[in-house]
């Protein structure tokens, strides 16, 4: 099975939510700012619980925040 990558739209969502800072998001989610930076930069895939909490903060479904992208889906697009 092709190994995919998890991408996210957190930067865009923060911008759309009154330019929420990384620190504000980190406090609302209950992680450190460094972790938010790592998630935004696709350097860390958060646990399901943290992923749901991020989606909850923005009031959007999980799949609007995180997308699982495989090589197959990229070439199909």
């Amino acid at each position: 099975m092709a190994r995919g990558q998890i991408h996210n739209t957190i930067r865009r969502l923060r911008f759309d939510h009154a330019e929420m800072t990384q620190q504000e998001l980190a406090e609302k989610v209950g992680v450190t700012r460094q972790t938010v930076i790592a998630i935004e930069g696709d350097k860390y895939s958060p646990s399901l619980e943290v992923a749901f909490r991020i989606a909850h903060v923005f009031g959007v479904p999980l799949e609007q925040v995180f997308q699982y992208v495989t090589g197959e889906s990229e070439s199909a697009a």
Binding site: G30, V31, T32, R33, Q34, T35, Y44, P46
Partner: protein
């Protein structure tokens, strides 16, 4: 370079360990070469442990005053567990080498370097220090590269 509280904490501990244990092992090696060496470095070891504790406390107080204390989250715990895995491998390898050497030395009789309690303790201590360094370096690596 923008370092997080955890990275600063690890980096400080790493540097303290390198400096203090370098002094300890340099002194121990110097002692071994002395003709009047009594076969113990317990006093130096106690001093080393106390020095590490004092440096760590002072350093973390300074970090706290700077206002950088952050609670560990799931990413910190994941990185820490990966670091412990690597450190365990180093420590287990070191302990296995010492045990194997003791068995081989016991079976073969006199060896070129006899495994005295002093030597065994210091070799094990060296592997414990290397394991701690591995622990710290692994953490710094994952904080920079990502997990």
């Amino acid at each position: 370079m923008d370092l997080s509280y955890q990275e600063k904490s690890i980096l400080g501990s790493l540097m303290a360990m390198v400096v203090v244990y370098s002094i300890y092992f340099a002194g121990t090696l110097r002692d071994i070469g002395r003709s009047d060496f009594n076969g113990s470095s317990l006093g130096r070891l106690i001093f080393t442990v106390i020095a590490i504790i004092v440096i760590e406390i002072v350093y973390h107080i300074v970090l706290a005053i700077e206002g950088g204390v952050e609670r560990k989250d799931e990413r910190d715990i994941l990185i820490e567990s990966k670091a412990y895995r690597n450190a365990y491998l180093v420590l287990a390898t070191g302990a296995s080498l010492v045990i194997t050497y003791a068995i081989v030395a016991g079976l073969a009789g006199a060896t070129r370097i006899p495994l005295t309690p002093f030597l065994a303790v210091n070799v094990l201590l060296l592997f414990m220090v290397i394991a701690e360094l591995t622990h710290a370096l692994t953490q710094l690596f994952y904080y920079r590269r990502g997990v």
